[in-house]
Amino acid sequence: MAAFYMSEELVGILRQEGAASALQTQVAQLFEESREDVYRYLMTLGLTPSRAQDATQEVFLRLYAALKHGEEIENPRGWVFRVAHNWGLKVRARHASENPFDADLEATLATPAHDAEYDLLERERMLHFHRAVEALSEQQKRCLFLRMEGLRYPEIAATLGISASAVGEFLRRAMARLKKVRDE
């Protein structure tokens, strides 16, 4: 009988370990797929590349911790971006004395030598579009970037602490502006 109990206990432990390992595999897979997107998003928030990389790593570990703690997360990618956004703002606030990171994409785009294969016309078009994106209000930009990453309106709303209808309105204004620029 003792052996029976022992094996039950062992099975329980193995199950638990198996579940933990499956969880790690899932999070590791999502990390593999999405880390570059999260990293880029954090840079658009003004984090330096090294801080954005550290923050990205931290966000996925938080996802693992939350899942392991039993939290039910319907859309892990949306969750990751929401946490990344909040975490990124905290990191920015902590280093508020420094200027936010600016990749100066405009200068990079305007330098033809940067990538000879990149079509000149396409470069011009993208430069034009980039300027329009930069001219959007911060909230419009946040909504647009998060939408580009595949988040739905309610998820964007939860991330930014605004209502879903406000997200729709910000996106409408952003798209109207960008459409106008594209049509020019």
Binding site: G46, Q57, Y64, A65, F129, E138, R152, S165, R172
Partner: protein, 557 residues
């Protein structure tokens, strides 16, 4: 949108259609319109082309030109181990949810509760015995060795501090301020010996119901001097609690603190300095700076001083509130490194100017906005609620019918959602104030600051109440017409409730109401309305009102 209605859907609806964010019924209507309308189809194609341009921009510019990660990406394995270790080291109650399924949880909670009750009973006895025994010994020690002449610092809640020289053969005290004297008398506490073990023992013994706590602390004037701290809470009477600190070495009292039921308090501390007259008693009363710098708050904030305090932070938050910068603007206030930092990204130039005008020149306040070229444009109104999910069509059709048609429904929906939008901005602001000044921090605020903080919170509560009334006057008759039944408000607050907790509950109630409204009015697709949605909405509104009443009542205390 029947064949009789030729209005074009507009960019907002088209974008929501493309994004799959439109309720099923509305999506069908828009698609039907698109089949017939070349102009809108062209508009939709143009929007699709812009979406495609965004995708290209993300791929070519953001992914192509933003700097790559400076270091190779490390696998998360080591991080997983760290998280596992942290979770394993966390207290049991924090780990339980992931350890067991629900029924095992229940058993664990019951077992823990039983253990807790047993522990409380056990602990409830032990400190009482300890307290009684320590006091007995302290009284005996005081009888054997009368207290020498010494200086006693007295600190009142009002911030007033005094010093008395007491002791000697007579052991006399100068009279205390009359109101304090009266309070001591009402509490049946011997005011002639407020720093003595005997008076404490007599008072404690007279209590019909009490709770004792005994801990070891360091002496207030000497961190290397261990002391016993006895704290006795009375279930009734003028005095809520008395704390006495006895030196371990000779059981001499070195500090006592009296907390009265009306939240007033007074503290007596033995000061480690030679008295001015060795044989005297009651010879000097001086008013001076607090003995210990424990109260960072100060009434005259925003005046020059070396570093900012929580009071300065409160002043800044209040000033921002006066210009409405705490309602939806991404303006952050933080107290770091001895200064109040006001920052924000994407704040409109006009708002930035207002904030600069308001705060530039204030001592220890730094205003720093980033991306000054960006302009924040708040939506003038939420997108009108239109349509509903298939499952919700019933309730929205009934609403339309009751209100007298589609146009009336649109107006009603916009009116309610506008009210909700305004209510939510105050709910967020109220929660933000409660989080910024939690109960623990509030204790360290001076009385005028506390009044100011409560006024700030009351402003948001009042504004929220107004918006709830606006929504209620529109919604209540309509919901009743849909079969909704009014419910009673939630129960009254606990006696020791804090307004911060009530503010958090109110925020949650606001969010709950917002979700129900969005389902009711067809704003949120994909959520099905249950048959008793009208009653649920009325109940949510009642809960919110009850939460607001709780806030009001606690803030008035």
């Amino acid at each position: 949108m029947s064949n009789w209605q030729s209005a074009h859907p507009g960019e907002g609806l088209l974008l929501r259609l493309l994004d799959g964010e439109l309720a099923a019924r509305k999506a069908r209507q828009v698609r039907r319109h698109l089949e017939a309308c070349w102009q809108c189809r062209a508009e939709l194609e143009s929007l699709e082309a812009t979406v495609a341009e965004c995708v290209r921009y993300r791929k070519q510019v953001l992914a192509g030109f933003l700097p790559e990660a400076p270091n190779p990406w490390q696998p998360l394995d080591r991080g997983f181990d760290r998280v596992d270790a942290e979770l394993a080291a966390a207290p049991l109650w924090k780990r339980l949810p992931r350890l067991a399924p629900a029924w095992q949880w229940g058993v664990a909670v019951l077992a823990a509760a039983a253990l807790l009750v047993a522990a409380i009973v056990q602990l409830g006895r032990t400190p009482s015995v300890q307290a009684a025994s320590l006091l007995e010994k302290a009284v005996a020690a005081a009888s054997a060795h009368p207290a020498p002449v010494r200086t006693i610092g007295i600190r009142l809640r009002s911030g007033l501090t005094m010093r008395h020289t007491v002791g000697g053969a007579a052991g006399n005290w100068l009279p205390l301020p009359p109101d304090i004297e009266t309070a001591f008398q009402a509490a049946h506490y011997d005011s002639a010996d407020p720093l003595g073990a005997r008076a404490f023992q007599s008072w404690r013994d007279s209590l019909p119901q009490k709770t004792d706590e005994v801990e070891t602390e360091s002496a207030p004037e000497n961190p290397h001097e261990p002391c016993y701290q006895i704290r006795t809470q009375a279930a009734e009477g003028e005095l809520a609690s008395v704390t006495l600190l006895l030196r371990v070495a000779d059981l001499a009292p070195v500090e006592s603190k009296f907390e009265f039921r009306d939240r007033n308090w007074i503290e007596f501390t033995q000061v480690m300095e030679p008295p001015p007259q060795p044989d005297g008693f009651a010879v000097a009363t001086t008013h001076e700076a607090p003995l210990r710098p424990v109260v960072p708050s100060r009434p005259a904030a925003l005046t020059p001083r070396s570093s900012a305090s929580i009071s300065d932070e409160l002043q800044v938050v209040t000033l921002l509130h006066r210009i409405g910068a705490d309602l939806g603007d991404p303006v952050e206030v933080s107290l770091t490194d001895g200064e109040v930092l006001v920052s924000g990204a994407g704040v409109s130039p006009e708002r930035q100017r207002q904030v600069h005008e308001l705060l530039d020149g204030a001592a220890n306040v730094e205003v720093r906005f980033s991306e000054p070229e960006a302009a924040l444009i708040m939506p003038s109104a939420p997108a009108p609620a239109t349509g509903g999910d298939t499952a919700n069509v019933g309730i929205q059709t009934r609403l339309e019918k009751q209100l007298g048609g589609r146009a009336a429904f649109e107006r009603f929906s916009t009116h309610v959602l506008d009210g909700n939008e305004a209510a939510m901005s105050h709910a967020y602001a109220l929660r933000s104030v409660a989080e910024r000044f939690p109960a623990g921090n509030e204790e360290s605020l001076a009385a005028p600051d506390r009044v100011q903080l409560h006024q700030l919170a009351r402003d948001h509560v009042a504004a929220l109440e107004t918006q709830v009334r606006v929504m209620e006057s529109a919604l209540a008759p309509v919901l009743a017409g849909l079969g909704g039944k009014a419910v009673k408000a939630a129960s009254a607050p606990a006696a020791d409730a804090q307004w911060q907790k009530a503010a958090e509950d109110t925020f949650r109630a606001s969010r709950h109401l917002e979700v129900l409204l969005s389902v009711l009015l067809g704003v949120t697709p994909g959520q099905n309305a249950s048959a008793d949605l009208p009653s649920q909405t009325l109940a949510a509104m009642a809960d919110l009102k009850a939460g607001l009443a709780r806030c009001q009542s606690l803030l008035a205390q």
